[in-house]
Symmetry: C2
Subunit: 378 residues, 2 copies
């Protein structure tokens, strides 16, 4: 099998890979993906390869795209930053979108989601927005980007004033996942006219908790998510830290769809708020945080209960703009194969584009609420 | 084995019981329990027998004490009450303590916790506070009580103005668990001078949501827990409903000891608040509830983080008053065998009684906080 060969796996390792059912389909065979014959993604970590790693058999040969590593989180700025890093660090904005790796296979760009799906919508946008010449000059590198905007299929946000765009936060070796130093990334992005995730501050690791506090407090309330703290040389692994607003937005989202969401997701965000409150709050800020936290949770719960009580289903609505009907069809097929329960509620052509409104139906939450509103006991 | 025999289990059933590891030790052999030779408790449901069912080999024969059944919960008063019940119902106060079954084995009273442990402390109190003649007249019945008070080993609360007392909420057949109708229970308790869990209202099932709403709103803010709604004939199974204060107190408790507690526990209480808010709240009450919920969670988290940051461990402190040193020793042995990590921080004799202050040490929460305060990543 081409995967084991491409990764240089021993026979027993190759068998284990199969046995553990690590590999899943990563794409839909379609002329929109003309270079790819077959592609699989790693559904979990395996033998040092991150979840989301993709191995693609293309008409030009086999490609390995390393998964984007999980970035661990600081619960306190002090002493975490100071202990974790040495020397110069930067606070880069953690933008609020979804993680995409953009690569070139043969003559075309491909956009891979965090989990390793080749997403038709994101790929279409990458081909329209990203300067290809970067990949011709650096065939072994990939762009790790945040895909943000109001017309996002996964994380629609109106924070950045864009319909849809990519912001590069890392340039990495495609095969190994090894990142370039911050300065080199900046230089490359400038050279090829690529958007950069903003760097908000730079300082010595020892002052990180002071500078970090200021940066996070400035982001607070603006809808922006938080920071990724990076060693300028990218030798030490980055860590992340988010605003209270983001923690609360996550909770708001999770409790809106409370029966589709993992309890671990909710729990971890609540505990984060506890640590941040301990580190940041005076009495007044504490009271504000209590209300913000409670409201994030309750408002969402009540909204979903109201929706169902009034005969509606609990849905997450996204609005997307496709450049062709073909990508629209391909994207809905992609959603189907990803196991998403959705409904296209609006579809129209406007100025050569295809505008679609798609509701992701949260069946489990809807059914749970319906049953309790109908008198079912817990 | 006496258990299989007492329950009339077939040979395959008896083997399954063993294989599934359902039975656990229910008591400590000791002269304080003079009637009991051996006793086991059901650690999970088995063949129609509730978790907490106890089979005891006593010097007078084998006794079977049925486990107290799980009472399911309404998430909305309407239409749940109306659909669940027919005819007359009562709203009985759900007191805030722990569930105890009091039985007589031979010549002595024994108090069994919900899970089926014969608790030395609770047994001592039962022998002092409960009128034995009930059991002489009704050897086949048991008293199902809430054990409440400030000197409670499991749920210390100062709500009822008592040091420690029992309030009967059900009288049931010991062996089958079958409950007496509400009126008969009341008559018996009056006859034998037993405290009753207060009945707060009675009405027809169809009006239950209106009456229930009033009762719950009256309890709100008083520290009292909620209601158990019962068919007066006890033919339909009871259901429970709690105040927002109780949901928040539970959350407060769970987040104080957040790493020892199950995420399901937290999640279910948050969702309850959502349904109650939907059914009860106007805009102002909603805002109050947001703050109450957020504060319940955050205050506890921050308190525990502060404790650890100042070098203390996260503990739950209880104060107990034993009538003899023997029961104190037996109780601490009982805690040990239950796997509780505790420390006796004070012990003194006062007026013939033994006063003890015991800290239950929450090691997992303490360690987790310590590690993050020390800079560990999540």
């Amino acid at each position: 099998m081409y995967v084991a060969e491409a990764l240089g796996l021993s026979k027993p390792a190759a068998e284990k890979l199969k046995e553990k059912n690590v590999l899943k389909e990563a794409f839909i065979k379609h002329p929109f993906f003309p270079d790819v014959i077959d592609a699989v993604r790693f559904d979990k970590r395996f033998a040092g390869l991150e979840e989301g790693t993709v191995v693609a058999k293309t008409i030009h040969g086999v490609e390995v795209v390393h998964g984007f590593p999980k970035i661990r989180r600081a619960l306190t700025l002090y002493p975490t930053i100071k202990l974790h890093f040495k020397g110069e660090i930067v606070f880069e904005e953690k933008m609020n979108g979804y993680n995409v790796r953009i690569v070139m296979f043969g003559k075309n760009l491909y956009a891979l989601t965090r989990r390793g799906f080749i997403c038709p919508y994101t790929t279409e946008k990458a081909r329209e927005l990203i300067n290809e010449s970067f990949f011709k000059d650096y065939p072994n590198l990939m762009l790790c980007c945040e895909a943000v905007g109001r017309y996002s299929p996964y994380v629609p946000k109106d924070v950045y004033g864009v319909d849809f765009d990519f912001y590069v936060f890392d340039v990495r070796e495609k095969r190994s996942g090894k990142p370039l130093p911050v300065k080199e990334k900046e230089k490359i992005c400038e050279e090829y006219g690529l958007n950069l995730a903003p760097i908000l501050a730079q300082c010595k690791a020892e002052e990180g908790h002071v500078v970090g506090r200021r940066v996070v407090e400035e982001l607070e309330g603006s809808g922006r998510e938080g920071v990724v703290i990076k060693d300028v040389n990218m030798v030490v692994e980055p860590i992340k830290y988010t605003t209270s607003e983001t923690n609360c937005n996550d909770l708001s989202y999770a409790f809106r769809y409370f029966n589709e969401y993992g309890k671990d997701f909710m729990f971890s965000r609540i505990v984060r708020e506890g640590f941040q409150s301990f580190e940041f709050d005076d009495e007044e800020k504490f009271r504000e945080r209590c209300f913000r936290l409670g409201k994030a949770i309750l408002e969402s719960l009540v909204k979903s209960i109201k929706d169902v009580s009034e005969g509606r289903r609990v849905v997450e609505r996204v609005e997307l703009i496709f450049s062709s009907f073909e990508t629209f069809e391909l994207f809905t097929e992609h959603l189907k194969r990803s196991g998403v329960n959705f409904e296209v509620v609006e579809l129209k052509k406007r100025g050569g584009k295809v505008h679609a409104v798609i509701d992701r139906v949260m069946k489990s939450t809807t059914d749970k609420i319906k049953s309790h509103l109908g008198g079912a006991l817990w």
